[in-house]
């Protein structure tokens, strides 16, 4: 089956991200495809370029990047939710007169239309929220 995940919990603050990553690994192990992860609400903080957890905690940002690198999973971040929380790529940063972006590839800023599209075009959309 083709899966999409919707992550609405911030990294480390809530269990949502940890659970979403566990679920992602499990479904891939079972032969399903994780095509899209959409980050909304406080979930957008998962895309922060500068996440720096202590060494004895899992690096959640790297875990998402690994999913993209190994399985081609698209990592889409709601632009409206991201901008108001300070998650900007280089282009948005310069458009808003800010020095340096806080989000970089493989995470991509995208519109809420992509969430609706993910819900309609995948076999399953599973939400992870606090």
């Amino acid at each position: 089956m083709r899966y999409a995940l919707l992550v609405q919990g911030g990294p480390y603050s809530h269990q949502a991200t940890h659970s979403a990553l566990r679920f992602a690994e499990a479904l891939i192990r079972r032969g399903h495809h994780l095509e899209t992860v959409f980050f909304y609400h406080d979930g957008v903080y998962n895309a922060a370029r500068l996440l720096a957890p202590p060494q004895d905690e899992p690096h959640l940002g790297d875990a998402w990047r690994r999913l993209h690198d190994e399985h081609g999973t698209r990592l889409q971040v709601c632009i409206a939710a991201g901008l108001r929380r300070g998650l900007l790529d280089e282009r948005e940063a310069s458009r808003h007169g800010k020095a340096g972006g806080s989000l970089e590839a493989p995470f991509e800023l995208t519109g809420l239309g992509q969430l609706v599209d993910a819900g309609l075009s995948h076999d399953r959309l599973i939400t992870f929220a606090p």
């Binding site: 919707l6 909304y40 609400h41 409206a80 939710a81 519109g111 809420l112 239309g113 969430l115 609706v116 599209d117 819900g119 309609l120 959309l125 939400t127 929220a129």
Partner: protein, 126 residues
């Protein structure tokens, strides 16, 4: 109150469980509903729990300069979002009679919640 056989169906059910001003859940849920409707999806909104407070008339901006969500509710008809439902018990708990509501809603019983989810292929929960 409608019985289950009269419940609407659609492409997307947006469930709103948070009140205005205290968090961004309600605003970001309504934003998702409006975007889906603008893309031509048939959207139903279900207000439940503290989310029914979103329906109260005469809301202003929050005292901490939150924008409030009432203008978004008033825009719903422009986007052809006309299926608004609210859980009756939750309205009663907050003392929200029909005369207190900013927009007309269909009142449903708790059993309708599961039925509504079954009638929409996509459910987003806020």
């Amino acid at each position: 109150m409608s019985d289950e056989s009269n419940l609407p169906s659609g492409d997307l059910l947006v469930v709103l469980r948070h009140g205005p001003h205290g968090s961004l859940w309600l605003r970001e849920g309504l934003e998702a509903a409006l975007v889906a409707a603008a893309l031509g999806q048939r959207v139903s909104l279900l207000f439940m729990g503290p989310g029914v407070a979103a329906l109260a008339a005469n809301q202003q901006r929050g005292p901490l300069e939150q924008k409030g969500t009432l203008p978004m509710l008033e825009m719903l008809p422009l986007y052809e979002v006309e299926q608004l439902l609210a859980v009756e018990d939750d309205l009663v708990a907050l003392g929200l009679g029909a005369e207190c509501l900013a927009v007309p809603v269909e009142r449903v019983g708790p059993a309708a919640v599961a039925a509504l989810m079954a009638r929409h292929p996509l459910v987003l929960n806020f």
